[in-house]
């Protein structure tokens, strides 16, 4: 019994442009060619100065909180919230500085563990 070739009807739909939908070729994917600039020797110094700036600001915040704490203790504090907010700022800034330090030390240790 011979099998007769069956001709299937063509289902190829005509390309009907859908308004508002771009064809796949038109969509630009994220460009992967963006290169990361190589680190220069100055970057290390910038990180150091950044940490130092952060420490200076932290010192200013803690000094402010300490001054307001003394005012509270001596009864010269006008607004309670002035002290509590200054203390909160100092606390968060300290946490941020410690987190930065931990990250820096972690990165240093990671490099020191590198096999040569």
């Amino acid at each position: 019994m011979s099998v007769m070739p069956v001709e299937f009807p063509s289902f190829s739909a005509p390309a009907v442009p859908v308004p508002g939908v771009a064809s796949l070729g038109d969509i630009a994917g994220p460009s992967l060619s963006q290169s990361v600039a190589p680190a220069s020797a100055a970057d290390g110094a910038e990180f150091g100065s950044m940490v130092l700036d952060g420490l200076d600001r932290l010192e200013g915040l803690t000094d402010r909180a300490d001054g307001l704490a003394v005012e509270a203790a001596t009864g010269n504090l006008d607004n309670i919230h002035d002290y509590t907010i200054a203390a909160s700022e100092a606390q968060v800034a300290t946490q941020l500085t410690v987190a930065l330090r931990n990250k820096a030390v972690e990165a240093f240790n990671e490099i020191m563990r590198m096999q040569v």
């Binding site: 919230h81 509590t84 907010i85 909160s88 700022e89 946490q95 987190a99 990250k103």
Partner: protein, 130 residues
Amino acid sequence: MGAFETLRIANTSLGAHQVWLDAIAGNIANVNTVTSTDEEAFRATYVIFDARPDGGVDVDGFAGSDPEGRLVHDPDHPLADEDGYVRAPELDMSSQMGQLVMAQRGFQASVQMTKTAQDTYSAALQIGAK
């Protein structure tokens, strides 16, 4: 715009509401303060707020209630005039109590704002933490 902008803005709001609470305290304290009819009545203090252009709120100034006050007939009062009248402040106790609740709730809302800000900062510090 510093890292602690939310805290700074909340601080301005706390200060403004503190001033408002102080003003209400003064008004309620003087709700029974009467003067003789040839003097001005106690003037209730109303705080005027103003939005700061850099975010937050400022106390722009104060307004006082009508110095005319209300004439109250109280012949036994030592300050009463010959017709038996004294001058009571133009001050509504129930309105002051309503404002007291508003000022307190506003203050509490700002305190909640500082808590939320701190939680947010703490969450940001948790990024990448082990």
